[in-house]
């Protein structure tokens, strides 16, 4: 009894000393400081530079101007780049959604062994460098590659796929599918399988049960996955440069050209800000949609 009393006396103090309320929160500070210095502050630097003046022969002149933005928003060359980037981002997101959903669903509804195998398959491309993947796609899509092999075997002329928007989309989908599948899986696995059983016992076919039960309940995953994929797709570099060639122009290769070839840092920064602003707007729209989906979900219950 005496020891019992002693332990209960000790308990509150030990809880505090191994990290109770407030005592170890400060341990987050070094990492937070590093993140502020290396992730948040640099983006404000980008904002600052985007208002500097460009001058040939110098990287920039630190004097305020809105000229860079005016040029980006009126020059058809840059407007074309924004259009291509948004179109590719949208298409990649849709394709990822359509291809990713069945895999995420199978992953959520299978046993632990099968789920582990599927998860490893889905994650595996994430550990291969984008350069290697893009190089693989140049081989796959080339005139002498396996996709053109049936045509060549039949004596037909091959379809040239390199240097097209399609090639960029196909490779980006492969790069970004894991993000979509993981987001969808996280949402689908929270839907109890009994809800689907109830729908089918009430006479709903698989398609109706999917459209009216599973899909609405997984909207948070759809929104999150679409957001991640879209943001990462419009920020792509290797796919448009290697597979799009000179014809498919996206924002990041253009930023690279402005910075490293033309040495126009202010215009490059303004381009980066357009990309960042676009990502933030899409994030805001999607979180609005997520909130509405969340509200719809709770009212349905």
């Amino acid at each position: 009894m005496a020891t019992g009393a002693k332990v209960s006396e000790l308990a509150p103090r030990t809880a505090r000393s191994v990290g109770g309320p407030g005592s170890i929160g400060w341990l987050v500070l070094p990492a937070l400081l590093a993140l502020c210095a290396l992730f948040i502050a640099p983006n404000f630097g980008l904002l600052q530079f985007s208002f500097y003046q460009a001058e040939p022969g110098r990287l920039y002149i630190p004097a305020f101007t809105t000229e860079n933005y005016a040029r980006l928003l009126t020059d058809p060359y840059y407007l074309g780049i924004f259009g291509t980037t948004a179109r590719i981002g949208g298409t990649v997101t849709l394709v990822c959604l359509v291809l990713g959903y069945p895999v995420a669903y199978a992953m959520a509804r299978s046993g632990p062994r099968m789920r582990g195998a599927l998860m490893l398959l889905v994650l595996s491309p994430m550990f291969v460098s984008n350069v290697i993947r893009v190089y693989g796609w140049t081989l796959l899509l080339s005139n002498v590659g396996p996709l053109n092999w049936p045509l060549r075997a039949l004596g037909l002329s091959p379809v040239s796929m390199l240097g097209t928007e399609g090639a960029v989309i196909v490779s980006l989908v492969q790069v970004l599918l894991p993000f979509m599948i993981l987001s969808l899986w996280a949402a689908i696995q929270t839907i109890p399988v009994q809800i689907e059983d109830a729908a089918s016992s009430l006479g709903a076919g698989p398609l109706r049960s999917f459209r009216e039960v599973v899909l609405p309940l997984s909207m948070t995953g759809v929104a999150a996955g679409s957001l991640f994929v879209f943001i990462l797709a419009i920020g792509a570099y290797a796919s448009p440069v290697v597979l799009g060639g000179l014809r498919v122009k996206m924002i990041l290769p253009e930023i690279y050209t402005e910075f490293m070839d033309l040495f126009n840092w202010p215009l490059g920064s303004a381009l980066a800000m357009v990309l960042l602003a676009g990502s933030l707007v899409v994030t805001a729209v999607y979180s609005g949609a997520l909130d509405r989906a969340g509200a719809g979900k709770s009212s349905a219950r």
């Binding site: 000393s17 170890i24 992730f39 291969v128 460098s129 693989g136 002498v144 396996p146 993000f179 570099y237």
Partner: protein, 270 residues
């Protein structure tokens, strides 16, 4: 929907197709690396391992492999030093904004790395004006930049390991007279070892394979492996030796993941 019957058949069919799609480009590299002639064609006219010997004899990408390994090792060490205490605070501490901070720490993994790279180029070029050292393009800038992408991996793995630790074991250590630092070193740290190992391995891989972050932080004399490979394939598209190096890197990565799975259990890494 169900996973059996005709619907299940369609579902598993779709999974198989997606699996082929995900692995196809990597298999193509493997095929090119073992084909017998220099110019790629499908199906390959014959098989040969000579491109591996060729790549090794030429010392292809040798310097950039060393640089990338150095950057990956250093940035992983920094990420562990910052991330382990942060994970401890995020899992065990109770302070306002803890959830928002946890989200913020994972944000770099869904942020275009090239955009971060260009922001860091400006930032480093401003900061280094008052300092006697070069941050970009140089090793320190590359390591600091890569910390941003290695940190989420460490925090994610160590946090999930920490949530599994039985608090009573630590409380027992404290009631037996161990002070908090000693409890941390001798009890908590060994218990989160799986998280440390998988977090460290994946952080290293994430840094080693990353192309986009280094785009703006490297120079012609200082190239990471992915940058070096990108420039090489843009100049010489038909060199199976590149495919051989790529295959070796992919196999090395797969081995590292398999070894991690053996040490910490496969379920812990995925």
């Amino acid at each position: 929907m169900s996973t059996t019957g005709p619907v299940g058949f369609l579902l598993w069919g779709a999974c198989a197709l997606v699996g082929v799609y995900l692995l196809a480009p990597i298999l193509m590299i493997l095929l090119y690396s073992v084909n017998s002639v220099q110019f790629f064609s499908f199906p390959p006219p014959g098989l040969s391992l000579r491109w591996y010997g060729d790549a090794v004899a030429k010392g292809l990408f040798f310097g950039s492999i060393l640089l990338s390994a150095q950057i990956a090792a250093l940035s992983t060490l920094v990420a562990l030093a910052l991330g382990v205490p942060a994970a401890l605070a995020l899992v065990r501490g109770q302070f306002p904004g803890r959830k928002a901070l946890a989200t913020l720490f994972l944000a770099p993994s869904i942020f275009p790395a090239a955009l971060l790279g260009v922001a860091l180029l400006l930032f480093f070029s401003e900061v280094q004006r008052g300092l006697p050292l070069t941050l970009a393009p140089a090793l320190p800038g590359l390591v600091l930049g890569h910390v941003v992408i290695t940190l989420p991996w460490v925090i994610r793995s160590v946090s999930s390991s920490l949530t599994l630790v039985d608090r009573r074991i630590e409380e027992a250590a404290v009631s037996l007279g161990a002070n908090p630092p000693r409890t941390f070193w001798e009890v908590t740290l060994p218990l989160v070892r799986p998280g440390l190992i998988s977090g460290g391995v994946f952080a290293f891989i994430a840094s080693f394979e990353n192309l986009e972050l280094s785009l703006f932080l490297t120079s012609s004399g200082l190239q990471t492996l992915p940058m070096d490979m990108l420039i090489y394939i843009q100049n010489y598209r038909n060199d199976p030796a590149v495919a051989a190096v790529s295959t070796m890197v992919v196999l090395g990565t797969a081995l590292a993941i398999a070894a991690t799975g053996r040490i910490v259990g496969l379920s812990r890494i995925v």
